[in-house]
Point group: C2
Chain length 339, copies 2
């Protein structure tokens, strides 16, 4: 009888303790800077260092905000600013060029607590598209604004605007020329260096998912789209459910990849649906949905975080610029596969 009493007390202690651990406030942040055929053998040491440094700067910016009780919205916005302001990534400053040598930036943001969302597509003058998406969410009755109208809205919101020339870099002009030449001559063969280069012009995007100390998730994505895009093409980045999704009852997702396949697979919402309706882990849900994308012929990657801080950084390309950091301050920054 005495033994049973002691065992009961022990069980009670263990159960209370684990309950307490579960309830302990946690926070975390995960980012990507685009997926694609990113191979170590094609990367100079200098470039590799530059990417690792910028990813670290981005994630520590958001982490510092979360650590002192800042919101997941603020963390996502400020983290993405770091990547948008860098020429290394296909978003903001480093955006790729359309077929007409113009700029067309897309971004979206979603708040996991309220499901409020904002997005912009095809803007040319907003220095930080993610901030325009957040302004659409807070200060307009709409979710998605496009083209000149979206630029006009951003200007009315007193967001920093820049001339289109701010975004046009020599690196991207060269890339556009090469893509146009490859498309004209249809010279690309599978696995050739031309093809690898060509493929990589489809994938650049930056994104972030954050969980704050109040248990609120937020997700954001920002991109310059696809090199040589035509006809006002819009990819998955500004599409809630495809490139971005956040819901405290499932998870936050930001995607990067061949946008058309990500729209058709409704990638971000499908991951959240598998987490919510099938109780899959964020890792397993991400794997299953990327497998569906692959079955259709597409590829790319996602970063996902649930309301417990569990994280997934899955991709089916050779590499994805990515980083993760949670409450314990342990930093993970990676570029290639199998690291």
């Amino acid at each position: 009888m005495k033994n049973i009493f002691i065992i009961t007390l022990l069980l009670l202690f263990v159960s209370c303790h684990s309950e307490k651990e579960k309830q302990q406030p946690t926070f975390g942040i995960v980012i990507h800077g685009g997926a694609g055929t990113i191979l170590k053998e094609n990367m100079s040491d200098e470039m590799e260092k530059a990417y690792l440094k910028k990813l670290t700067e981005a994630i520590t910016t958001g982490h510092a905000i979360l650590k002192v009780g800042g919101t997941s919205q603020d963390a996502v916005e400020k983290t993405i600013h770091v990547m948008e302001n860098s020429p290394l990534f296909n978003s903001g400053k480093g955006a790729v060029l359309t077929a007409n040598e113009t700029i067309a930036l897309d971004a979206s943001f979603m708040d996991g607590k309220t499901l409020n969302s904002g997005a912009i597509a095809g803007v040319k003058h907003v220095k930080n598209p993610i901030s325009a998406a957040i302004k659409v969410m807070h200060n307009s009755p709409h979710v998605l604004l496009s083209g000149e109208g979206a630029d006009q809205f951003a200007a009315e919101q007193n967001l920093e605007t820049v001339p289109e020339s701010y975004f046009i870099t020599q690196r991207r002009i060269k890339a556009l020329r090469r893509v146009q030449e490859l498309e004209t001559n249809k010279k690309t063969t599978r696995h050739s260096s031309d093809q690898l280069f060509y493929d990589n012009q489809r994938y650049g995007t930056v994104g972030c998912v954050a969980l704050d100390l109040n248990g609120n998730l937020a997700a954001g994505t920002s991109t310059g789209g696809m090199t040589n895009k035509k006809w006002g093409r819009i990819g998955d980045a500004p599409i809630i459910g495809a490139g971005t999704y956040a819901n405290n009852s499932s998870c936050g997702v930001s995607a990067t990849g061949w946008g058309e396949f990500f729209i058709r697979s409704v990638v971000a919402h499908d991951i959240a649906a598998l987490v919510e309706y099938k109780s899959l882990s964020v890792k397993e849900a991400s794997k299953q949905v990327l497998q569906k994308v692959e079955d259709l012929g597409g590829d790319g990657g996602v970063v996902v975080m649930d309301a417990y801080g569990n994280v997934s950084m899955e991709f089916n390309t050779p590499g994805m610029y990515r980083a993760h950091m949670n409450s314990d301050g342990k930093l993970t920054v990676r570029i290639y596969d199998n690291e």
Copy 2:
């Protein structure tokens, strides 16, 4: 022993028979012409007859195609043409006007067998936007095209183009003026006739889901958007996953309603996810997702069909123009709630 033998034979017969019934080829089509505060007391007999007649013409057009073995794509396209060519609905000819008294048409299409999709947003010159969406799917590497580029693509595809004046009707100019006056004076009070009128300017859309004799689902949606829309606003109609979704392994969906809430709720894909992952019926899944939309403060409706021809025409507004017809040729055409 003899009894058991007879019972086994009977069970075998019943099981084979029901299997046979399940496998019997079936087809069906379901459409909507927009949801909103559509009340019998506000509708003239003449208008009611006009709506019922046009809905019947639309659905029998698609039904005739399916009956002779035509594809669900063809049925959806030709059915939507009937509604796009009528001034009664907010799509094509009857499209509402933007704040600048211009036209900005959106449409999307999805094929349930291949998950191929196409969509256009903000076009001004395509007579039948649903056909432009289908052309994007077949003849471009993209899913979503927008603005002038989308119009240019449609022209390159030899689709019928019209001057913007084709779409501008006196009825819609009057509606725009009234909405602008109401917005300027903020005179609307809840449940007032002004408010009812105002609310209804948000909801017009047409859509169709069809199942063909090969068991393939397709869904399409077409709209002029929201009266007095600004800043290049894009609603849910051209968003795969929000306004339109089709997947043979779950169902086809076309939505109509307050687009912003439908984007945030990823309505079309969420219904499909509940059908696929939670084995809900299309009716139950539609109800649950519309409840989520209502909880956020939005409203509207959906038409849904699964690969067995089961249908749902749910809405949480006072009315939705809708019709349904399946293999047995029984026609259902409705406008109001509780009919």
